[in-house]
Symmetry: C2
Subunit: 287 residues, 2 copies
Amino acid sequence: MRLATLELNGTGTAAAVLRDETAMVVRDSAGRVAYPDVGALLAAGDAGLASARRALDDGDEQPYGPGAVRRPILAPGAIFCVGLNYRTHITEMGRELPTHPTLFSKLSRALTDPYVDIDVPVAGAACLDYEGELVAVIGTRARNVDAAEAMRHVAGLTVLNDVTMRDYQWRSPQWFAGKTWERSTPVGPAVVTLDELGDLDARELVVTVNDAERQRARLGDLVFGVTELVADISRIVTLEPGDMIATGTPGGVGDAMDPKGYLGDGDVVEVRIDGLGSIRNRINVRP
Amino acid sequence: MRLATLELNGTGTAAAVLRDETAMVVRDSAGRVAYPDVGALLAAGDAGLASARRALDDGDEQPYGPGAVRRPILAPGAIFCVGLNYRTHITEMGRELPTHPTLFSKLSRALTDPYVDIDVPVAGAACLDYEGELVAVIGTRARNVDAAEAMRHVAGLTVLNDVTMRDYQWRSPQWFAGKTWERSTPVGPAVVTLDELGDLDARELVVTVNDAERQRARLGDLVFGVTELVADISRIVTLEPGDMIATGTPGGVGDAMDPKGYLGDGDVVEVRIDGLGSIRNRINVRP
């Protein structure tokens, strides 16, 4: 299934399941919106997924277009990010292959929707960069799971652009200040459940800026895949439904270009992963 | 005022205001618990603080002891942490004074209560260290505030032990993996409002392990004080009521000792700041 969160006309948000080019809102037996977002649907466990399956057949059909699509999980309890996780990107940054995942985090208030403008204040726009990423979305609580069990706790996958203020990322030894700017990180458009996807390694992630290609990588180039990341994080802290793990970005970021390929006002950046769809956002620099 | 969150007997939690050695639960006009924790009280703005002031005189008096005290904000929306922020600690770690705050974050699920045992799995106990810290608690939303306005957005201060798994902190370039272990970070016992405190610079933070002193510093030794930190973070992202800013730790951590002064099973670590009280936790290493 492809699970998305829709903005309904004036009545809030709703979790929906996508069927071709339409969206079927998941409703309860009384006809009310069952879940305000995909996060709430996942938190409901098997009942949430079962109601999504039923909605595929008899849901409330809604127009589905860029203007109506919110990020699938409006406010995840945790957003884990991974740095230095594609062989090609590690090489371009001049580093050696890591022995452990490089984990950091992002606040949920840093997230934004898959097709909206990204408003960036001038103060954050000097070294503005893109990082296209695959995201794993947790479906069920995971604590101390091993690699063999890890994928059972993943509901599905989605797409994220880890928009980064490089000057803030590197003003101190910790990257967080360049990674968590207000509503700077688009994610979506849908959580695609694992049963739709099959083998991931051959799928490609592609990032374009104004339709010119900047990043392209096979997901098989990941140093630590979703399985290893879920297992590793679950040894540190409990993973909860709706948590996101952004798995890192491949080579081709603007900062590694000569001259620098930073994003400016009006630029349109798109991140696409085969089978997961794409997110596309315009940069809007404001005083 | 000193604002705390109490565990009531079998009926959940409640925000309370402390008067000498008793706690007055904040109740609404119908006699119900007004707020489940200090976070909810702060989110209610002026009305929350006014109800706390009234409870000082006519609140519901409750026994107040270590067993009944929870962390003041049960699940902050954001926990900002600062590294390398005391001149003495920067020196012992062999670094130069920074030009910008070193920000990272911690998940709310990493927090625990001010007097409980800290359960640490063996896997995280090899290089277990303490970091006593002053915490600023946000009272009102702050976005793009300058230093002159910053303190108006701070409700009060509290105490935190940024318990750190040094091996995980340093297994990659980012510290997060050593800083966000499940229920590893005690905080409390109360949020003390700024009007009770006056000048902070002369106040001391003291950390003991099994009652032997390990860290002692004047808050005036902070490189970036609360004012600068609120202003800096608010340029990046909105600060919300209940958010915490852990301001960093001074010299004397176990890792800087020779031989290493790491924490082991049964050790009791206490962090005290003049005027804010103390938190005291026993380490419980489990398989």
